[in-house]
Symmetry: C2
Subunit: 257 residues, 2 copies
């Protein structure tokens, strides 16, 4: 894709209209508290600025100087490390309501590269702007701490997933997490439009692409999902949740001390 685009260029143009897809409202955004603490309203351009990324555009690169925390309001972003040339590791996917770039906050430089998977709208929050009134700082910092804590726990539960769950469980857990809590609301089935490739999913879950495909097929044969390319429909949420649950037979208790 248009790799060579200057990373910040798209900030210059103002967002005109949201995409067809619904944007996440501030009330569902994990940065809501931060934005409120900053004191600006929705359209305040002082510390919060909106931006749009085309699919494939880079939000920031690993090592690049920190220039703010981002919140995704629509679309999707992946963060990844480049381990070797032509070898990358997807670190996380970021969906509407999620933050991106939090781990760079205290470091002054982004740890990973962030790239939009589709057309994506983001809010850039300039949490380190020196013009933030002093009296607002404590609340802003508090909110950043909260956001970091959430992120940390997310990463910890991912580590647990990668240690204890087999390929099938990882995939099912991933699909259910994509669907969000609403899976339980609609018993009829959930439609997902995956913004990322099979390769990215496999990379993220730490399994081979071929394994991913085969297990998708198996889930389809078992009438648990209906997948056609990037369109996936969860047919039996109850059964899927059952599959996702960690095995409870193994004798893997930790020792006393």
């Amino acid at each position: 894709m248009t790799e060579h685009n200057a990373t910040n260029e798209h900030w210059l143009r103002q967002v005109t209209t949201p995409l067809g897809e619904a944007r996440v409202p501030c009330s569902q955004c994990s940065m809501q508290g931060v934005c409120e603490a900053l004191g600006g309203d929705d359209d305040d351009k002082t510390f919060i600025r909106r931006g749009r990324l085309g699919g494939g555009q880079t939000l920031f690169r690993a090592g690049e100087a920190f220039h703010g925390v981002y919140a995704v309001t629509s679309g999707a972003i992946k963060t990844y490390a480049t381990l070797d040339k032509d070898e990358a590791q997807v670190v996380d996917f970021h969906f509407p309501g999620d933050t991106v770039g939090l781990d760079a906050l205290d470091r002054g430089a982004y740890t990973y590269t962030a790239r939009a998977l589709t057309e994506t709208l983001v809010c850039r929050v300039d949490v380190e702007n020196p013009h933030i009134p002093g009296e607002r700082q404590p609340r802003v910092q508090n909110e950043m701490i909260r956001a970091l804590g959430e992120q940390l726990r997310h990463e910890q539960s991912l580590s647990i997933l990668l240690r204890k769950q087999n390929a099938e469980q990882r995939i099912v857990t991933f699909l259910l997490s994509l669907a969000g809590p609403s899976v339980w609301a609609s018993a009829r089935g959930i439609d997902l439009q995956l913004p990322m490739s099979r390769k990215d999913i496999a990379n993220y879950l730490g399994i081979a692409v071929e394994t991913l495909c085969r297990l998708f097929k198996r889930l389809q044969d078992d009438k648990l999902v209906d997948s056609q390319g990037r369109h996936v429909r969860l047919l039996n949420v109850v059964a899927l949740s059952e599959l996702a649950r960690p095995a409870e037979h193994a004798e893997s208790e930790v020792c006393a001390v």
Copy 2:
């Protein structure tokens, strides 16, 4: 937080822990900035209090109300989740200089249970004490943000390890990380006294205990380490580092978008 001020004999006792018989000085502690920001001198018991744990003692339990962030100054602590009865998942090991309980900071309750693996000295930092002078708050919060960021990046790199590295690479990476940066200083070999069981190591690395043992044996046969129970000597740091490196042949690049 310096050793010479310790008057209690508990503190003076020499502890035979791995990874450094001596206690870590404040200058090497990841909470140093926090403690300085809190403004107390070395013996200030207002916000910083020392504690000692015998091997097997619990520092806090998952779900328990937050009562401060801890810094390990000697010994070792493991944090773990209890997934089912008699099934646990080690989340992390914490060595002198490390923090424990950071992920509870914004949540009011600890996420995992923390237990000392051997006799362990900790500093408990009461970062939420209402008596902290207002003017110190910003700096304290800044330091907490820094600590959280470090922790988050640590967890992210662990996730990468669990996705891309095989059992042998995980073990070697683990051993090298235990040895710390000093591995490169002493070409003669590094002695490690592991404070945790094989089961805990295997659990932490997401592999079976038997696999761990077999690979320890292989490393021993290859004259890379010399392990007798919990005493491990790294014989060939260069070769070990080579082993730990992620495979660079696989074609696992992420797709363009």
